[in-house]
Symmetry: C2
């Protein structure tokens, strides 16, 4: 007679955690069929209704039901860590964690764990598959992580494009999300929107004014997650980006998924102050970080978007010439701008978009004949300017992986410590997507190889930020949104007025943005007279504070800063911070942030609005007691307007203390920038 | 039998000249006693009544009467010359000249010539003594050049001090001039006012609103001229500065006096536009002028006047340390400031004012132990900054003349191309005066020796400017007035509000002024809380345009520029000009000047007022047609005031053309600065 041996079940008990402040509650359950699910409450209000979890595999049964709890564990963590650079020097990492170990009731009795964490600013969970005999290799065909919403929230979303994030944000009710309609963006070369899904971060506001934002953290060796939208059931389900052979993720035990995150905040601005994403990443792995330094940088770049010059030599308007580089170096030296990006300096730009020739168009080491790389580096060094290298891969990944160590070695030899990478076009190998596992692993290899050569990375057309900057602090900043360059040439004539007031509450929750601010010639005459930057000059200045990036561009042409007193703010503003505070904000409407310069008693405030003029009283009570600051106010002139009079700025100065109150008057599309320099 | 041979007299004829525009008329005559005299008319109105000319000598009869005309000659000149640097690139030099050769009727039949010139902007004349057997050496005991005024004009004057020009200007009727009362200035270490005389330039306004200014040009191997005041007869007589043995000038034929000049203008501003003084000097004598370059400069200097640091090491607050120098070098590099003056870098400052020890206190080559001269120069060079040498002679002339070639050779070796000289204290050799022939010759030797070593000179406590910069364009600028430093510590608490509106129409007619503008911390807290700069920040900015100097200081401490948007004007403003125009002005009241940057299509406008608020409409019709300019306006805030709210500045920008009109609103003690940058 055979006995059937069942694993011993843990006695039925509540598997839940609360946030340290007790306001967020997450509970995990198995239903009678062994289906795992969780729900989340905020102040006893259900905000994520019971949502199931699980996987489908190739050549393996799914793992979605028939599970039993094998073990459960709770722990509480309260620590703080120091960021190598960032919005804040000290980051509090405080949470309660629930670990649940699940096992299939039936053969093959596969095991996996779920880690749930409740922070004051949200919740997160991940799947962890330990090494096990019954499951070695695994090909994930679908991850079934559900987020069942409890209302038809207002959502700020971009379509769940597998190839590019550079879409305009849409504000709709959840039930009205229609990503498919976004397939035909005339501005995008490579775009893949297979179904009605959104990319993350996806930010929502409930009827009661609570704010939620869905994203992921610590994306390693996995595909990016989009969220498939069920408009009728108010459900979102993880939809991983696919690959050439249809698999979503190819892995082997032990493996673990990225964290699935839900930031939760009453005030919209608290989303921005949240450190959830970085807290879910591991501590810094780099032993020596002395070479990593935030900086401002100019670039031979905007002039190509204005079509004043070109990346390649053909046509006689090559931007990256030795002479032009020296002109920019002088500009940097004179304006306290440490870095200078030079795009289009290496051969290949004549053919880089050709179907055949793009395969090996670029080698990243052969300069054009009119660009003396070593002389430029020597001259820059003499002037105290650091050249930033440019590697546009044209998304030909095998080529870049073959060349990258050679390219980084050249950089190391020349003392170049930062690279801007680019991935324009459809990925080669064919069938892979920019946001799939193949590319996720590529982007990570770039980080690691760059780190070996002491190179900081600024990735354009990147995978989304998921907080890796904590672990790999040479991963500085990235694009991954509809950036400044769309103002120069997009079919719509530029980004809409409320673009950045949305971006700050969506894309920016993921991490630093290389939005490349600093355009002073907002109407772009005479180069792109049909396009324009759709906000005021004071708003553009405010971006240096509002849109966080440790590499912050001073994007316009040197000649456009001539005689511009507003340039003083650009010169003064810091790029690394001891602390950051959101003073007010509503998604898509307005935002005011103040930050304290790292290691110096200088504070910088930025405020932006959408088309609605706004007035804010800002008490300076964030300043320390007993100190006086030299304040410079860069305000919209009373007759300024984003369209009719965008450059009208009024600059004044005054001494202030923490007892002072600023009155900001933002015009339509306006902004305000303030420097508060500690007096000795 | 002896025949008495008389020189053949030129037939009686009118000896006169008119200015090219015919408005100024000068006539020379001998009266029956053979006394030479001249008079000057403007539009038939007598402005200098008959005024006699002549000399008294030691051991030789005077030359004041008994003269006869031996020859007479007229010539007309119309030429233009290009200034190596200056307020204008092209200078029109157009005049009619009358040369009269005079001879004593009696033995020893000495001969001399008078050269009279009539320009549209004034008249000038000089004495020329040719080589002659009957007069070789000559010791001039008095020059009797008279200027008989035709009214009791309003005069802006400083006392005829033989040692220092650093007096406050006085505005009185001519009949009320009382220089003797100015003897007890508590701020002046060394001052000698022997009689009721004034120093030049002395500027006057007649009842009918005509403006006159009296000065001299091309002062070589001669004593400086003061003008003795006869208050009852409205007469001024040349009174040369004396010397140790009582002689005024020791010379030998051939010799010639400086030009005695009278600038004549209906509008006060035309005095400033006048090129009379430089036109009376000879063309550039330097073959190579490539090394001569106007520039802005910062300095370890103001901090000593604020008593934040000291020139010497004693007391532990030495300013000129290697570390502090590097701090300033960084500041310069970041702010487009090419030069850095470092005072107090060489030993001797502990004893430089001691009666005995001052004799050889300084050697100008031995740095203090905390100042690594070569390292500072190396670091500056790396940052593209030029060190400016400092040579305070403490007025010990033999010591400096002994050391100066060694000191200039050190500069040449280090690539230092500018020196600021200083002459604080009473002159050694004892009995000589700062403005006497001995010092005039010393100052000239400095110019010439410096030129040999390719060194530009910025002289403090100098002899007055007399237009030598045309001939010796390495003689860049000088003090020679109550400068900015009096704001830091003078007994009166600072220069009066109308100081610079007077200076611009008096001292500035002589030539460039190193007034050392750029103080942003106008109240000087916490260093000199009882003193202040008595005008607004916008006024201080305007000084970069209004008060001309090819070496223009950015005087304040680096930390006082932190976060100051007004700094952009300082960064932008040019230091060398293609053209300059006075747009309005009244002596001691207000002044508006616009200048065009040399070699660039950028214009800068400065406007200053005294205590009276003023409003000006300024049409920009000086701009060329068909061009657009990016204008930045640095205006007094509406609530600014020189005393109660001096730093309140409002900065705005706008595109303008020659059809635009600016409305300037200057508050009490206020100003306006405008940059107009040509757009490409």
């Amino acid at each position: 007679m055979l006995f059937s041996c069942q694993p011993e079940e843990v006695p039925e008990q509540i598997m839940d955690i609360n946030s340290p402040d007790g306001r967020i509650h997450l509970e995990f359950k198995l239903d009678e069929a062994g289906v795992p699910y969780y729900y989340v409450e905020f102040d006893t209000m259900r905000i994520i209704d019971s949502s199931s979890l699980g996987f489908e595999f190739r050549n393996m049964p799914p793992l979605r039901e028939g599970l039993t709890v094998r073990d459960m564990e709770r722990q509480s963590v309260s620590e703080s860590w120091e960021a190598v650079w960032g919005e804040n020097r000290e980051v509090l990492n405080e949470y309660n964690e629930l670990r649940v170990e699940l096992e299939e009731r039936e053969t093959p009795n596969r095991i996996f764990e779920l880690y749930f964490r409740a922070y004051d600013d949200g919740v997160a969970f991940r799947y962890v598959f330990p090494l096990q005999d019954n499951m070695t290799e695994a090909v994930i065909m679908d991850e079934h992580t559900e987020f069942n919403l409890t209302g038809d929230h207002t959502v700020w979303w971009i379509p769940g494009d597998w190839d590019i994030y550079e879409h305009l944000y849409n504000e709709t009710r959840f039930s009205e999300i229609d990503a498919i309609a976004k397939r035909d963006d005339p501005n995008l070369i490579s775009t893949t929107i297979p179904e009605n899904a959104v990319n993350t971060p996806a930010t929502m506001r409930t009827e009661t004014g609570l704010h939620l934002s869905f994203h992921e953290a610590a994306l390693y060796d996995y595909s990016g997650m989009t969220l498939r939208i069920s408009t009728d059931s108010l459900k979102m389900t993880s939809e991983l980006v696919g690959s050439a052979d249809g698999a979503k993720v190819k892995t082997a035990t032990p493996w673990r998924s990225p964290w699935r995150t839900v930031q939760i905040a009453e005030a919209a601005g608290d989303l921005i102050e949240s450190n959830l994403i970085v807290n879910l990443n591991e501590p810094n792995k780099l032993e020596n970080t002395d070479w990593i330094e935030p900086m401002k940088y100019a670039g031979i770049w905007w002039e190509m978007h204005l079509e004043k010059s070109t990346w390649g030599m053909k046509g006689g308007r090559h931007g990256a010439t030795t002479a032009n580089a020296k002109r920019y170096i002088d500009f940097c030296a004179e304006n306290n701008i440490r870095g200078l990006l030079i795009e289009g300096w290496y051969t290949g730009w004549e053919v880089w978009t050709e179907p055949e020739e793009r395969i090996d168009a670029f080698d990243f080491v052969t300069p054009y004949p009119d660009y003396d790389l070593r002389e430029v580096v020597r001259y820059a060094d003499e002037q105290g300017v650091d050249i930033i290298m440019h590697h546009e891969t044209s998304a030909v990944i095998p080529r870049y992986e073959e060349q990258m160590d050679t390219a980084y070695a050249l950089m190391e030899e020349l003392g170049i410590q930062a690279v801007k990478t680019g991935y324009v076009g459809s990925v080669i190998p064919e069938g892979e997507y920019q946001h799939g596992q193949y590319m996720v692993n590529h982007y990570q290899r770039v980080i690691e190889h760059a780190a070996e050569h002491q190179v900081m990375v600024d990735a354009h057309e990147p995978i989304k930020a998921t907080g890796k900057r904590r672990t790999w602090p040479n991963m500085m900043t990235r694009e991954g949104l509809r950036g400044q360059e769309f103002n120069a040439w997009s079919a719509e004539g530029g980004n809409p007025v409320d673009h950045l007031p949305v971006v700050a509450f969506t894309r920016m929750l993921a991490g630093p943005i290389d939005y490349t601010p600093g355009v002073f010639n907002l109407k772009m005459n005479p180069y792109q007279p049909d396009n324009q930057v759709r906000h005021t000059l004071a708003n553009e200045l405010a971006l240096y504070v509002v849109i966080y990036s440790p590499l912050q561009m001073v994007a316009d042409l040197p000649e456009h800063y001539k005689g511009q007193p507003a340039m003083q703010f650009v010169r003064d503003v810091a790029v690394d911070w001891d602390e950051s505070h959101v003073l007010n904000g509503e998604v898509g409407q307005y935002l005011t942030i103040v930050r304290k310069e790292r290691g110096a008693d200088n504070w910088f405030l930025g405020s932006i609005t959408d088309e609605t003029p706004r007035q804010f009283d800002i008490p300076l009570d964030f300043l320390p007691e007993g100190k006086t600051y030299q304040a410079a106010f860069y305000y919209d002139a009373p007759d300024a307007h984003w369209d009719s009079n965008p450059t009208a700025i009024r600059i004044t100065t005054q001494e202030v203390t923490r007892d002072s109150t600023l009155q900001l008057n933002l015009v339509s599309g306006g902004g305000a920038a303030v420097s508060l320099m500690g007096m000795e």
